[in-house]
Symmetry: C2
Subunit: 170 residues, 2 copies
DNA sequence: CAGTTTACGTCAGTCTTGTTGACATTCCAA
DNA sequence: TTGGAATGTCAACAAGACTGACGTAAACTG
């Protein structure tokens, strides 16, 4: 329907990177890369009979220690019932600790235990190893572009939510 | 465990983009971007009571018309039973046609019907629109870097498989 | 203070999408 | 020609998402 080549004619610039074919290749590469991106932690998780959902929870609890269930819900974009199933397992297995809030006793603040931190390290070391190899192979300019495109692809709401998270961690 | 700053000291180059913190930000951005990446088609699909799996099948059948079930299996990386359920629905709904192979009658060759092409266009138009906006915002150099990093992140096997696909389409 | 809202947990049920296992058909090679 | 390998189908099950309903405790509000 809309074709990049039309835009090229309109602006007179070289916008060949916006052709439908270029975009389709970007879409497919994104699909394959995301699989690679999760492949290593997924292998570790399946040995523990955990899944992606558990990794996501562990990642963001480590990222923002003491975060509430509601915060986590917003970031992960799932229902509380779905998250609760995962958290229940992680708490039962002693990887996550849930503390009643002191200022607002309705809230539960989530923390990784020592075992939780151990698993988090194992998972993110595996994921970072692949990421690091990709970054090193592509070089710093490519990495800057990579980040720039990804951030432009995020939902604007998510972008705000994520910026807050990033700022709070410093 | 392994920290980018060590590499920096070793090589003397500026490898600050390889620090654990930079990598973690890349990991999180990838997570959020992938959600944005699939959000638009997912909305369309849920109205039709289809899901990601259906989109993937439709995408690659459109990409490589006449492909066999086994080819599709390799590309998608799921079991044949899982793919079969999805294909059965698409065939029943008249979006995909399955033709018995002429040279090897065990094989089924898959094609999109006219309705199948219509849905494929609708889905990929939506996905491309967001992709195009992100590309345009980031600019051509960023897009080149984006692609470079993603390709380095893919599984090597997948990379070969994908190259074949890309060549076959010309 | 009474009523409402918020935060969280849970039970029950459904749907998608992945998995194994068993099985039929077809092809190919010993 | 016969046994194994490849291709695809059917059945049953599990993980992880969803909705809806309900309960409890705490906080807020008129």
């Amino acid at each position: 329907m809309a074709d990049g080549r039309i835009a090229q004619v309109q602006t007179g610039e070289s916008l060949l990177f916006l052709t439908d074919e270029q975009l389709r290749q970007g879409i497919e590469t994104m699909f394959f890369a995301y699989r690679g991106f999760t492949a290593d932690p997924d292998r570790i998780l399946s040995d523990l009979s955990y899944g992606r959902a558990h990794h996501r929870a562990i990642h963001f609890i480590n990222r923002a220690p003491g975060t509430t269930v509601n915060n986590l819900l917003t970031i992960l974009g799932v229902t509380k019932q779905s998250l609760n199933r995962v958290l229940r397992a992680l708490i039962a297995d002693g990887l996550v600790e849930s503390r009643v809030g002191t200022v607002d006793k309705r809230e539960r603040h989530l923390y990784l235990t020592d075992s939780g931190h151990a698993l988090e390290s194992q998972l993110s070391d595996a994921q970072r190893a692949r990421m690091r190899a990709a970054y090193r192979e592509a070089g710093p300019e490519a990495v800057a572009g990579f980040r720039k495109v990804l951030e432009a692809m995020m939902d604007p709401d998510m972008h705000r939510c994520y910026s807050r998270l990033r700022d709070s961690a410093g």
